[in-house]
Symmetry: D2
Subunit: 343 residues, 4 copies
């Protein structure tokens, strides 16, 4: 894995809060990310998985929440998250038409993992998000297969690449090459440091709208390029943190990811499915014999700093997804440029 | 207060779970209920208050949740309950057009209570529910005044009357006289007994639909009466319990109140605002210096018995609201019969 | 197809509204239903499809709405229905762990259908519901394959069987054999007759709670059987109608399906995913060149009769799903009885 | 009314779409705005009303939608808007603790208006929004009385002042004086021009976060001022338009107002109730004898330009609310500066 040059190294600093050591979602202890890329003459696509903890997450569920900012999307698993406030599988990201196959692969993975742990799984809620990469990928082929999902899980670790890789292989963002990006922030409470990390699969926005640190970068670039993409596609935002929260509090934090998107110039286009899913590693729900559980959560008045962290890290993660991606050619020969050509 | 004959004493037994000692919402320790009735030649209306605890609830907030089953209603306060999951005032019930005045009275009551406790209140979320009693009340007069609210609060206690009193003075239910009714259920968890209580303000339903313990009572009665009311009006359901819950869990329980309504034959009419509000006295949110709070809640798998309790107690509370009410005459001389004339 | 004896023929009449000619969801013109059953020594499962219209539904979208009554379920497609208020695929029902494969099959079916019609499909929102049939089916095998889905679609027509067939092959309801059931109601407006039909996949409820027309049938039967199932599983309710509605109005109607479930004695158990999905064939959204569309919808004050129709038809459809099913043996030899043995 | 210098005249241009002639919400035909200011040595507060049409809106209801971006607020009326998708009163804005009195005044106004039109009003859903102006106003006095509401209604017209007036008299925004602000945008569809207008009551944000056209203005100013306000308060956004929409479409547009807020640097603070309410004058729901109504709405693919309009106009309206306001002194003598001192 070569070190990739990230947005910060271009002198672009997003927000005010301190970053974690990797400035990635994997700064949250236990979180791992893996990719599997599917790239050939018909396809630019793949799968990215976020493993939320090192335990079997089905038997050690985490508090979770989701927020649908624009529901023109096919993400699966959010209905149960909303009802029960827990996550019980890894989260997988892929292309729009591959959600079924990837979701089936997550079921198979969990079935085998539970069998190994002596647990007879009968029901499980796979969480699979998606973006539409049809302009760079023969999407109706559903080229991502079960084996690609398993490979992404096997390869998962705290270090992972960004840009045009995994589920970000075929996505475009503000008319540039988009992809997978990540960032993190830390927050102090009662003298203890908590971490909040974001991973995005970016695939939305019109070139003319791209604004970086308040600068209308998209318009400047368009004067050179004379092409424009309209605002369609999607963005998936995955939020991880280690701060103790109820599902209600987590949902409040998760919806603030929208702030990072708005800051970059988007008007949340009609065709852009925007779905945010978050989990916290702080309270683990294990099966056991007591009927009453003890949870910890933050005092509501202290939640503002996590709102800020969610917005900042989302904004930076999107920029990382773009700046780490290389130029790609569409089937018709036109280039999807990398943002790094213009910074 | 004369002892009122309740539905159980007519040999009608609703559900399977045990009742609390009073079989009222006030079986939940600390909960008190008070009424103030406004009745003269133009008016049959009033106000009923539910005091959730003996502490100042603004500085000792309780976990709360609401569920809007049919939103053709003017209840105020649910937006903040949904966001923050807490209750910070008593809950008041009144007629539809009196919500503003009653809500202002709750603000005044809380301001004075907090001043007495040395707390400078700047913002507070009054929770006021309503039913439309216009067929028995000159509703545009807004006859419930601030003083009536204070009187209801002063009179609040664990014992309270049901039927055509307080906010139930002018309501009708399945074409009969409706009003305030209550019931409670107890549930065991880990060897401890928890209590769930319901109070309703009933004002909905068509006579022809009334079904009691599966018996189509309404149709039988109509053969004698030859009049019918269509399904309009509203029902407010207030749920109190002492079981530790998160706001998410409480919301799941609160929405099961709908089961009790459906059992009595209603199809949830268009014109019937049906709003349910619940609170639990188990976790108290006090101001303090720690940033991390400790909450307890039940294991999700144990929630079913509370679902059952919510449905059963709602069904019985509605029947109590009707059976405890006396016949009333409408301005045009027609009678709104009491259900007890027919049992 | 043998004629099956339905609940009405047992002298049990649900509700007051008139029925359509078949008393099935297919009384709504254009709606077709098909099954494919997977039954062998390890499996009792399958797939049922509802085809909403005879046109290509992707290019002739219908107004749709969904309502999640209890979100402990894995249904996919509701996020986009909620956002856009339209349906663009057939609806498929299957077992919980087969949602991924069936959803992928629906994508393939739509891709091919659109290709035939000269439409390059790039994105589509498959709607797949599920119940958990694990007590009668080796569910982790995901025995329903793509071919079964295509077979169900091919076999679809206005006539279809109920009971233990298709997606209902392995389900149980109130401890009896459940399955697929249907019913319909008609409503007059401005002198025109409209039809509302329901199809359920029933898989919920405890025997002790079963109540038929107000009679506590479950308890009576238990005295003979001495076994009880607790309330887990799920119910999927699909509603079709031909009345002009906005998505908001349709959602109001769809949520009234809950009334039918409550009437049969359920308290909406924690483990029972209850998801309702509805569509109307009255307004078709076609691509075209005008920017302004004309819709028709009912006057809100007239919606009550459709509320009643939704509740009644759901209640009867559930009873049909049970009464049309035959006894099945579990792997351990225990019988899942048919309700018809007891009526 | 003196002409006020607005943000555009400072050379600050927000967005890309054309403005209406007044660049105010009253560019939407029929919409009128009125203020009544309450200002004395204890009070800086008031009321602002938005009259949606020149007809009696109770008998000529408009399609409406609301979106709660952060529910730490006391706005009343949104529950019924969500259920029925219509508006039936003017919208009033005031201070947090005055919602009850103002809501009662709206009921009285509508009762009298309907009486004049020969309509016996029995139920009405007053829509009242609020911000907390307690730092400049003795808020527990509830100084806004019924007469102030009637005065605001009487004074309503297409021309109205912005800044520290009416409901904006006591609010602060990003630590500066906030208040009432407005802006509008126009959009072409099928060769016809449609107008979307915004009115805000601004009362949120930390000085350090204020960003104008991407420039971190707040931080620069703080270097001179050395004081900071944290992010509490609220913002109410009222959206009017004349484009034909269903309530679902309108809700999608209304939620895009959040984009304008994020652009100005806010992270949607915990204590900031952010509630958006919109209506369209295009489809009027009148009582009548037909059961089937005809509505028009836009093709969903054309909605993006209205998303953009909502975001842009909200951003500009907030800046207008600040730039039109004058410096005010707090009771302790500290100044709440006007933004215009710094531009």
């Amino acid at each position: 894995m070569n070190k990739q040059k990230r947005i910060e190294e271009y002198g672009i600093h997003i927000g005010k809060l301190p970053r974690g050591p990797l400035n990635k979602i994997t700064d949250v202890a236990g979180v791992r990310v893996g990719h599997c890329t599917v790239r050939d003459d018909r396809h630019n696509t793949g799968v990215t998985v976020i493993l939320p903890s090192e335990d079997n997450i089905f038997t050690n569920k985490l508090i979770a929440a989701s927020y649908v900012h624009n529901g023109f999307g096919k993400t699966t698993g959010t209905v149960q998250i909303e009802e029960l406030g827990t996550l019980e599988t890894p989260i997988a990201l892929t292309n729009t038409l591959n959600v079924g196959i990837v979701s089936d692969a997550v079921v198979e993975y969990m079935t085998e993992l539970c069998a190994k742990d002596g647990v007879a799984l009968r029901s499980v809620n796979p969480v699979v998000g998606e973006c539409n990469d049809a302009s760079l990928n023969a999407i109706t082929d559903r080229a991502v297969r079960k084996e690609h999902v398993f490979e992404a899980i096997r390869s998962a670790g705290p270090e992972f690449e960004e840009g045009d890789i995994g589920a970000g292989t075929g996505t475009t963002c503000y008319g540039f090459k988009g992809g997978i990006g990540s960032a993190s922030r830390t927050v102090e409470l009662d003298g203890k440091t908590y971490t909040l990390g974001i991973l995005v699969q970016s695939n939305y926005g019109s070139t003319a709208d791209l604004t970086v640190c308040g600068k209308p970068l998209g318009e400047e670039i368009l004067q050179k390029l004379r092409e424009e993409e309209c605002d369609r596609g999607s963005i998936m935002v995955i939020l991880a943190c280690d701060v103790p929260l109820t599902a209600r509090q987590l949902k409040r934090i998760v919806r603030r990811c929208s702030v990072g998107i708005a800051r970059l110039g988007s008007y949340i286009g009609h065709g852009s499915g925007e779905v945010f899913i978050g989990f916290s590693t702080a309270n683990v729900i294990r099966s056991g014999d007591g009927d009453i559980l003890s949870l910890s959560c933050i005092r509501e008045e202290k939640i503002d700093r996590f709102f800020r962290a969610a917005g900042e890290a989302t904004e930076e993660a999107i920029l990382n997804s773009m700046i780490c991606a290389d130029e790609v050619r569409m089937p018709d020969g036109r280039a999807v440029h990398s943002l790094k050509e213009f910074l």
